[in-house]
């Protein structure tokens, strides 16, 4: 079992990273229409953040926040209805996934089939780190260069003369 304190630290730092990501590459909205916006500023901000996480199913690699497609508009309205009804972000996402499947999530949820996807960067860093460590510990032979060939000797001489 992981002690609770450590668990808290892990989730807190994970959350911090997520916030950092969200702010650095936050996608800007272009598709939202004035009539769709919620009057409650807090709820609207939440709706926007959620919209950036959901895929427009009829488009190519666009979130519903970016897309002009009618389906994306329907989904935006759906998300806002759910938020107005007092649902939490997690509940809204579950609701949308239940209707449209995992495919709708631009950030796949951690599961057995996505474990490799999410762990790959860490595994790679760990592997290279270990490789470098092992290499640093291993005794290294002094490098030996093969002697210059005749042709190279001549060329070297020519270059030296050229310089002088």
């Amino acid at each position: 079992m992981i002690p609770d304190t450590i668990y808290c630290v892990i989730t807190a730092s994970a959350r911090m990273i997520v916030v950092l990501m969200a702010l650095l590459f936050a996608t800007t909205t272009w598709a939202i229409e004035p009539g769709e916006q919620l009057s409650d500023q807090r709820q609207e901000i939440r709706a926007r953040a959620l919209s950036a996480e959901l895929r427009c199913l009829v488009c190519q690699n666009q979130s519903i926040d970016d897309s002009n497609a009618p389906l994306a508009k329907d989904l935006r309205v759906l998300v806002r209805e759910q938020i107005s009804a007092g649902k939490t972000d997690r509940e809204v996402i579950s609701y949308v996934v239940a209707r449209y499947g995992e495919f709708v999530l631009l950030r796949p949820r951690l599961s057995w089939s996505t474990a490799l996807l999410w762990l790959a960067p860490l595994l790679l860093l760990g592997a290279t780190g270990y490789g470098l460590y092992a290499r640093a510990r291993a005794p290294t032979a002094k490098p030996q260069e093969p002697p210059l060939t005749n042709v190279e000797e001549k060329r070297l001489k020519r270059l030296m003369d050229e310089k002088n």
Partner: protein, 659 residues
């Protein structure tokens, strides 16, 4: 007739490519100078023939010869000449021909300027180039012949996708391809070195300019694409983690790592085995990029050639080259001697860190791009991997890279002194903190994490300045001494510093525009006003207009700042004649502090007003300015005589400069 000549030239080029591949390779094996000498004329002949074919196709597009199927499908007689020309490569067949043309240009460049290379190395490099050319020429001739005729000829063409009718996009593919294909040079040199069984610092010196040139082109190409997306697409920012963007980004990341590891190899004879592998991987990623775009396996705005048969052929080509290269690598890697020992805290150590982070980031992008594909083919499960995933994995890898970046150049080779490096950067640290505090005072909004992120960009910028100050002894020596040092600093050193400066400037732009953007989405009627980021906008109305090959609705937004009129922005919605497709033209006021970006939405159903989206994107131009600075640094470095192959090296009285 010209079209048939082009077709004929292309077939001849494939035959010449076969000769270019086989004869010098065998010649190098049996050490026959006459056979090896075939390589250079073969590659020049190849360039001539491919150029002929390309000009023939260009001619068909410029004269709107609709008896050629490709022209009929992708051009239109009413299109402006620029887009008739760019239409040549704005389609699958033509763009593959451009790919081969650029390959031939690079090959011919080795033939012309590589006279100082050892004969067998040059023969082998050109043979590998010939093999790549042969594979792609056969691909074009068998599955994507651009010269196919159409009978009866069409009356007029189907037109070029209107969002592609843009000056920046006209030249985006050629630059991108020059980058992709340029990395084939590093690949060919790596394979040749493996065949030779010998690799040394001289090898790195020959490879570096080619890699650098390819990297500069790729940087410009990606920046152009991003700039185009920003002002043209109107539905997004400047980077979407679209699979095809990733396809060009992966070779860039690997190529950036390669540039840095080649420095270590050139100066210290270390990281040889790694550099060779990286050279192979970089070009493999270029091939992968070509495969992803051309096969259409990943649905994306770029996939204008969705054809499974072509995809399969490119996949086979890729498997042959990547598999073959890696097998050769595995067989020969033991013969290569590793050299140059260094402590973890040293310039080499810093460059290793750079390589670890860049390649991990590259692998992450690769996995994220291909994962849905693999998962679906194995389990049938459909998932999406979008921007939230890439941001969550890519940015944490970039943060330590940017943090460590200014420290690297301040460390000595072999054994560095971290404390000393930090001391030498004390001015940069002070400047970073000062400007970051000013930013905090000025920007009383947005998420608090924006400030440390902004400071990271400042740190890289001031770090680059501090490196220059340190090298010219700005605060230590007298004025004359400083000027003398600044003049004597090699161009490659300036190139490296500019490259780092560019990354910092770009980071500032990314952070500022992501964190502090303001937006307003409103319905406006003539006379309505709105204010944003100190600007006052007045909607003066919208009216229909007629362009050369489109119909558009143009809105007029008068912009004033502190009561004084600044300009009138005219965002528009266009409907092209052929093909009938709507596009959005943003109205943008460019300024260094930030862009005022306006987009015209749809009219309200009741006819009372029209949706207008107004954004203020602070420092957004820094993103592309940073790219330009990087590319300029690369060019400056290329012009350094020490990098020019075979140029006698000047004797330097002081320590070697590096990236």
């Amino acid at each position: 007739m010209t079209t048939e000549l082009g077709h004929f030239a292309l077939i001849l080029a494939a035959l010449v490519a076969a000769v270019q591949m086989l004869v010098p390779l065998y010649g190098a094996h049996v050490r026959d100078a006459r056979l090896m000498a075939m390589a250079a004329p073969a590659s020049l002949t190849q360039l001539t023939l491919v150029t002929l074919a390309f000009v023939a196709l260009l001619n068909a597009f410029m004269t709107s010869d609709f008896s050629v199927a490709l022209v009929a499908n992708h051009s239109h007689s009413a299109k402006p000449m620029l887009y008739k020309i760019s239409g040549t490569w704005g389609n699958h067949e033509g763009s593959m021909l451009l790919w081969v043309l650029i390959l031939a240009i690079f090959g011919a460049a080795v033939a012309l300027f590589g006279s100082n290379l050892p004969d067998s190395l040059r023969a082998r490099v050109l043979a590998v180039q010939g093999s790549i050319a042969l594979a792609f020429l056969l691909f074009i001739l068998t599955t994507s012949n651009p010269f196919e005729r159409l009978s009866p000829a069409a009356l007029d063409g189907a037109g070029l996708n209107p969002i592609l009718q843009d000056p920046a996009l006209a030249f985006h593919p050629p630059f991108l391809y020059m980058g992709y294909v340029g990395f084939s040079m590093a690949f060919s040199f790596a394979i040749a070195a493996l065949l030779e069984g010998r690799i040394d610092a001289a090898w790195a010196r020959w490879v570096r300019p080619w890699t650098l040139a390819a990297w500069v082109f790729l940087t410009i190409g990606i920046a152009m694409g991003s700039w185009w997306a920003y002002y043209e697409l109107g539905w997004g920012g400047w980077w979407f983690w679209d699979p095809v963007e990733n396809a060009s980004f992966m070779p860039w990341l690997a190529g950036t790592a390669l540039l840095h590891s080649a420095v270590v190899m050139e100066k210290r004879e270390a990281l040889k085995i790694w550099t060779i592998l990286l050279a192979i991987l970089t070009f493999s990623l270029s091939l992968l990029g070509t495969f992803l775009v051309r096969s259409g396996v990943l649905t994306s705005v770029h996939a204008f050639a969705v054809d499974p048969q072509r995809g399969t052929v490119i996949l086979v080509i890729m498997a042959l080259f990547v598999g073959g290269a890696l097998t050769l690598y595995a067989m020969r890697v033991r013969d290569l001697k590793q050299g140059g020992i260094f402590a973890p805290l040293s310039r080499e150590g810093a460059l290793v860190l750079n390589n670890v982070l860049l390649t991990t980031a590259c692998a992450t992008v690769l996995i994220g791009t291909l994962y849905p594909l693999f998962l679906e083919s194995i389990t049938g499960e459909k998932i999406s991997v979008g921007p939230p995933y890439f941001n969550a994995t890519f940015i944490p890898l970039m943060v330590p890279l940017l943090l460590a970046l200014p420290l690297g150049p301040m460390m000595a080779w072999k054994r560095g002194d971290l404390q000393g490096a930090i001391q030498r950067l004390s001015m940069a640290i002070a400047a970073t903190l000062f400007v970051a505090l000013v930013a905090v005072a000025l920007m009383q909004r947005g998420p608090w994490l924006a400030y440390p992120a902004f400071a990271l960009g400042l740190w890289v910028v001031f770090g680059a300045v501090a490196e220059w100050a340190h090298r010219v002894k700005l605060f230590e020596a007298g004025r004359d001494e400083v000027l003398r040092r600044a003049r004597n600093l090699p161009r490659a050193a300036y190139g490296g510093m500019l490259g780092h400066l560019g990354i910092g400037v770009m980071t500032l732009g990314i952070v500022a525009t992501s964190a502090w953007q303001s937006e307003q989405v409103v319905v406006m009627k003539p006379g309505d006003k709105l204010s944003i980021a100190g600007y006052e906008l007045t909607f003066e109305g919208a009216s229909p207009q007629r362009g050369p090959n489109y119909q558009e609705t143009v809105a007029r937004l008068a912009v004033a700042s502190r009561g004084r009129p600044v300009t009138t922005l005219e965002p528009a919605k266009r409907l092209y004649d052929a093909p009938k497709q709507p596009t959005t033209e943003a109205g943008i006021l460019n300024a260094w502090g930030g862009d005022l970006y306006t987009v015209l939405g749809d009219p309200q159903a009741d006819g009372a007003g029209i949706t207008v989206r107004v954004y203020f994107n602070p420092l957004v131009r820094f993103i592309w300015l940073g790219c330009l600075i990087m590319a300029f640094g690369g060019l400056l470095s290329l012009s350094d005589r020490r990098l020019r192959v075979g140029a006698p090296r000047k004797v330097m009285a002081k320590p070697q400069a590096a990236e």
